[in-house]
Chain length 304, copies 5
Amino acid sequence: MIVRDRPAAWRLFFAVRGSILHRIKWEVTTTVCIAIGVTILHGRVFDTKITLTPIPFSLIGLALAIFLGFRNSATYDRWWEGRKQWGDLVIHARSLARLSLNHISPNGDDLPAIQVRRIIAFTHALRHALRGSEDCDSAAFLPENERRDVLNSVNPPNRILRAFSADLAAATAQGRVTPMMAVSIEENVTALAGVQAGCERISGTPLPFSYTLLLHRTAHMYCLMLPFGLVDTIGFATPVVVGLISYTFFGLDTIADEIEDPFGMLPNNLPLDAISRRIEIDLRDALGETDLPEMLQPVESCLM
Amino acid sequence: MIVRDRPAAWRLFFAVRGSILHRIKWEVTTTVCIAIGVTILHGRVFDTKITLTPIPFSLIGLALAIFLGFRNSATYDRWWEGRKQWGDLVIHARSLARLSLNHISPNGDDLPAIQVRRIIAFTHALRHALRGSEDCDSAAFLPENERRDVLNSVNPPNRILRAFSADLAAATAQGRVTPMMAVSIEENVTALAGVQAGCERISGTPLPFSYTLLLHRTAHMYCLMLPFGLVDTIGFATPVVVGLISYTFFGLDTIADEIEDPFGMLPNNLPLDAISRRIEIDLRDALGETDLPEMLQPVESCLM
Amino acid sequence: MIVRDRPAAWRLFFAVRGSILHRIKWEVTTTVCIAIGVTILHGRVFDTKITLTPIPFSLIGLALAIFLGFRNSATYDRWWEGRKQWGDLVIHARSLARLSLNHISPNGDDLPAIQVRRIIAFTHALRHALRGSEDCDSAAFLPENERRDVLNSVNPPNRILRAFSADLAAATAQGRVTPMMAVSIEENVTALAGVQAGCERISGTPLPFSYTLLLHRTAHMYCLMLPFGLVDTIGFATPVVVGLISYTFFGLDTIADEIEDPFGMLPNNLPLDAISRRIEIDLRDALGETDLPEMLQPVESCLM
Amino acid sequence: MIVRDRPAAWRLFFAVRGSILHRIKWEVTTTVCIAIGVTILHGRVFDTKITLTPIPFSLIGLALAIFLGFRNSATYDRWWEGRKQWGDLVIHARSLARLSLNHISPNGDDLPAIQVRRIIAFTHALRHALRGSEDCDSAAFLPENERRDVLNSVNPPNRILRAFSADLAAATAQGRVTPMMAVSIEENVTALAGVQAGCERISGTPLPFSYTLLLHRTAHMYCLMLPFGLVDTIGFATPVVVGLISYTFFGLDTIADEIEDPFGMLPNNLPLDAISRRIEIDLRDALGETDLPEMLQPVESCLM
Amino acid sequence: MIVRDRPAAWRLFFAVRGSILHRIKWEVTTTVCIAIGVTILHGRVFDTKITLTPIPFSLIGLALAIFLGFRNSATYDRWWEGRKQWGDLVIHARSLARLSLNHISPNGDDLPAIQVRRIIAFTHALRHALRGSEDCDSAAFLPENERRDVLNSVNPPNRILRAFSADLAAATAQGRVTPMMAVSIEENVTALAGVQAGCERISGTPLPFSYTLLLHRTAHMYCLMLPFGLVDTIGFATPVVVGLISYTFFGLDTIADEIEDPFGMLPNNLPLDAISRRIEIDLRDALGETDLPEMLQPVESCLM
């Protein structure tokens, strides 16, 4: 996630960090070069004048804007829903800590603390599962005898929840938790399972590919043909206008690509590291630990 | 579901897999041929000049784009809601497994495992019911004496949930489950019933047909009449522009058709096989089985 | 609900069933006739030339399209929410059957079955209440001594739920249901009350009437004045274009009118008969009945 | 709420009831008069020709339509959410009646009936609180000793819920309600608290005022300047077109103003009186009363 | 939040309070000055005529309007969701007070009142945490021995909920609350945790920055280049039109900026002070206090 203030006025045009420009520079350059060529040749290709007026572009442009707008909204909704899932993770992680520490009676053993640490492990394991990275964080928060089992599991986060549940069931059978509270804690565990399945859904099911392909194609055709439509009317201003339009269309398209899977490591993706750290701090604070890690800070305006 | 990376730059125009083009090739070809004919005849039909300027098309085109955009969003929402229902299935399947295995006390018999296997059977039965295909998967996960009964039932998935519930009630009466946990497990079963009814709703209630018909008709009329409106202004570029516009309009329309019932077997439909397999793996892993099937992989970029 | 396949290609233009055309034929005919008159008179009325260019229509047309699009989405959302309410009815009807049959201990009497049959009666009573038709279906599923009482009630579906609840309370007092399960069953009954109130809301609160009137008026003025704007540019093609535009605008407007109250008996309304029948089949199957009615089939492509 | 059928065909133009026209007649008249003046002067002001073509209006008009469309949707969503809150009130009022009468054992005293009557009182008190009107209805449904206390409270509806809850707690302590059912009833009370807070939210938090002001200003500037843009092209048809455009823009803007606070007494506001009456009838019927009030009927097509 | 009536008719143009104009005055002035310069020079820069017609602006303008519209809706949704979170806070604060006072049996000590006062403290602590301001309000409502601990905590609001939960667990263990009611109260506490996490989510995750930057850039380029496109057609009316368009585009953009983080202290932000005060009044009234503070009133039309 890019974290920076909106640059004021004229500095706006020179902002580089956070801009999508560097990812579309070749595409924009290409269309601008073609536009320059077309302008120099006055729209002629091999001595044949290509007669395109702006009219077809206003017909296509509208449709294109509406459909790009649709794709934009759809990917943004995915991104924001991804953030909501991690917000739910914050809620239920804190609640499970609160309930475990207060409503499981401490019987000499460390069960409440073990359960809370499992939630931290779940958070890290889920993050690594979503990003496809190796999980080097969660083991530290699991009971020693469970570590290998979890990390080798086909589904480590789910495996952790099953361990949580098994210990809860045992504690309930021993009368350390009321049966009602056991149900309530299990409902919070189900909520974590919901976060996991929700994130897997967003991460594993991109927008129907045919949409993406259709819109990419139409947007590219539009920008490639545009110089022929403008050159007769606006002459040597053509490349500037083509550049601005390609920048807007390709830019929005590329942001949509970037946030379609919001759990990745691209600049506009969600700061899962920071949220995980936040959960870790809150839960270790609830355990009474005082040697808490720092909140993550943005590096070069970017919070991972 | 089509699974492939976005092709880069110029390869974009030659991508075939995942393109909707092969489904609309005849319609686009027809409008392009008409456009070529109109261009050759300079807009004359039987010696009568059809005088259409681009103006009517900009009036209609806007309305058409907005209404196609509406239909697009509506079908996409159905597709995404379908995916959410199957995401809920993942959540509650995993939770029912977790609760059954931990909170039903094993009394020598196999009840917890039987219940978990029933959930796998429910997943397969639901998939086959939605696709109208013969159910050859669920029987393997049902107790032998129930198989025929379920498969001949008027509603196999619902029949499975009733069997689950009956056994749960018996176990509760025997004191093997606390009454509170029984209620909580039943709520998860109701959630599965919700998934089933939700999928039946999406699958059985298409968009009001009059919308589809009205928009198809207007879009076709628009593309068929368009050459008359463009030929005087842009001459022999007419077929290219008509081709691009038909490709965009018919393409979006056809994608919408395809994802209207997201549970089918078309390329842009949901990968129910893969999700079912995922559930099967997770639940059999929870049962302690080690001989787990592989995750499904895309075949020719297509995940079923 | 209209149930038919999308007609292919050229047959599209001749489809009659499912088309909204027959409901707007007089309005479209009127605007086309006016357009023909204007074309013949070259835009002159009483020797005065009405000088309208297409420009005002592109100003108004855009606003009109956006606002019609808004009304469209709003009514479609009502229709789809109506369908969701009936989907919830399916969920909770099945769940109440499952819970009643499994978790109310049979004490020699028929209570579980009576409760299930009450749910079927509720379904029928709700459908008739929403449609304002006479209820000839629900009595068969009610205990004999309750029938008159229910049918004469100020609110029959609610009356049925109260009877369900009273018997449930009695059974709970006798220890035939655990207090937890009683609460859970009551929550499902509340969900049915929610379906009823949700349907009453959609059915009793149309879109603010001023919207409908304003949009009708603007759309009609637009189509009536349009020929004066087009005739100078496109000559005798005017009536065709006016016809196509009126067909699109009036058509979308009329579909919106039709689905605004989705529980009626118009072709694009929801198939409540079929859904009720589905519930009846599932619940009677759960009761072990074998003489089940058939699923409803579409009559002339229309499922009621 | 305006309750009337859509007027047919030509009668559409003469409908007065339900039209927003009477609220914007001065604004429309002003712009039309200016348009007439501009037309007569051929766009000259003090011998200076104001040269405006339609082009700027098509640039601004589009943006304006999209932003008015946004404001429209946002206010409509508020209106519909307001209706949903009152729909929830119907659900939970009926459910609380059903639960109180069936699941609180009658111990000689009238507690169940007192609780049901409190719900009726809550409905009336909430309506008066939202409308800022004096509450002359709720007292009749409260126990005599509570009336003054409630009416003088800083928050009468909330005060009623507290009394409900206190009596429920006492009954639970006496064993007249199971602890599980007490929780379930309290959850319904919380749902009523949710309705109250939801209505307060809609009623107390209008759209950010800067939106409203910005859009009003742009819309007025647009309509005032429009004649200068049209007069050269369409001559004496200018006032008609300006009138139609102002009618559409100001009309939609005014409807949005009217439904922004949906709980008021304007024609397009929600029929809270009718919904309250409906609840009163249903709950008194549940109490076995036979002397029920009539459903409210629209007065001059308007249901309050 | 700005609280004022919509100014009537001509006063509309002179309203200053609540207008966004003062925040964009420099940007609008700049574009107007450039437009004046361009008009005086007849579109010539260094003796070179810049030939831009309005056509490119209608191509870009449409896309821009749609994308600004998207950003607008997205930020408005954040603002309204923020308000909903605080509405949920109202619901659950009132419910926790109602449940604590009625369903925790008073055992001589002050526990129920302490719990209610903790909820007030939570409200104030959350507000200060969101605004990054120093918390000088919550201490007064906390037990003396907890104050320092809470204020020094890494997460004061969450710390308060943990204290609430610990005391509840103790009371449950002593039998002063039924185990069912304890679960229900904890669910309300979890709802408060949900409000906190929801507010943190909105406050900590702005819209992807690349969107904001892209749209700012395109909007600025558009307004800076616009005079060249208009000057040939509308001459000295250019600065007026450019001024109106910049006012609309920059205005909407700036309102979106302002409400993106709805918990700040800007005029269009949410009135958290007033909502907190409302909760404080209701909860102290529930405690039987009579010396209640006043509701907050707007200061210069602005409610904080």
